[in-house]
């Protein structure tokens, strides 16, 4: 059962921003621009690629990386250093690993607040008009970013485990 304790949203936003900027600049030499964060109890349906990882420990939750299939191809090309024209297995693996690095780095930062957390291996979903939900009761903190004339989002919801 989950307690009703949620974390200060700014702490989560700062950890997401730091992790995302670090991963993009280090692995792909890409600068990202952080856009206005928000929070939503139930974010709406999306089209594109979503990668999800779970957190467990003194806090429980889910982290998500979401982007369009067009941006997924561009990011896949940057990671693999080869031109990718359409979403394929390698692109999906790349987005999964990108989410793993961002949320892994996020976890390292947020553990100063939460205590040690475990992170699952990523799951990647690709499609149209689908929602990703978490059983955790907290709302999602959504941080959008701009890169190469596209936007993507890193989303986290987490709540203290009772």
């Amino acid at each position: 059962m989950l307690a009703e304790t949620a974390m200060d949203q700014q702490v989560i936003v700062d950890a997401i921003r730091g992790a995302t900027e670090n991963v993009f600049s280090t692995m792909m030499e890409l600068e990202v621009e952080t856009l206005e964060p928000s929070d939503h109890q139930e974010p709406g349906a999306v089209d594109g690629v979503v990668s999800l990882l779970g957190f467990t420990g003194p806090w429980t939750g889910t982290g998500m990386f979401y982007c369009s299939d067009d941006l997924a191809c561009k990011l896949g090309s940057a990671l693999l250093m080869t031109e990718v024209a359409e979403v394929n297995g390698e692109v999906l693996n790349g987005i999964g690993e990108l989410a793993n690095m961002i949320l892994g780095n996020f976890k390292e930062t947020i553990e100063t607040q939460t205590g040690p957390l475990a992170l699952t291996v990523p799951t990647v979903v690709y499609g149209k008009n689908f929602q990703a939900r978490s059983p955790v009761l907290a709302s999602w903190t959504i941080v959008p970013f701009k890169v190469a004339d596209n936007t993507f989002e890193v989303r986290v919801c987490m709540q203290q485990t009772e």
Binding site: N22, V23, T26, M27, G76, L79, L80, M81, E90, N93, G94, G96, E97, N100, M101, G104, N105, K107, E108, E111, P116, L119, V121
Partner: protein, 125 residues
Amino acid sequence: MGINVLIVDDASVMRKILGRSLRQAKISGLDSIVEANDGAKALEKLGGDSVHWIFSDINMPNVNGLEFLRRLKETPHKDLPVIMVTTEGGEKTVMEAISLGAKGFIRKPFTTAQMEGAVSKVMPD
């Protein structure tokens, strides 16, 4: 004699990135790169291929990186140098990996220069 490297990571894209980074890094004598997608496959590869260095992720399904280190100690290859390449860089994880025999850590994300630095610290010239 050339240096053969084993890369252990469940993400194929990370095995590609790591392989590319090793080739770009100024590591003399690098000959071939062998891949495995988890610790169990890595132990199988060691039974068949000649390997000099190992780079391993920690968070993998089936046999993870820490369990791989434990099982490696029970094999004739227990003295092979292993560098962990992972997002799991917390002190507890680092200490556990070192106690199991890991020679170094590279935290994801990493640059080629960081790869070179980690390799030069722990691998013989």
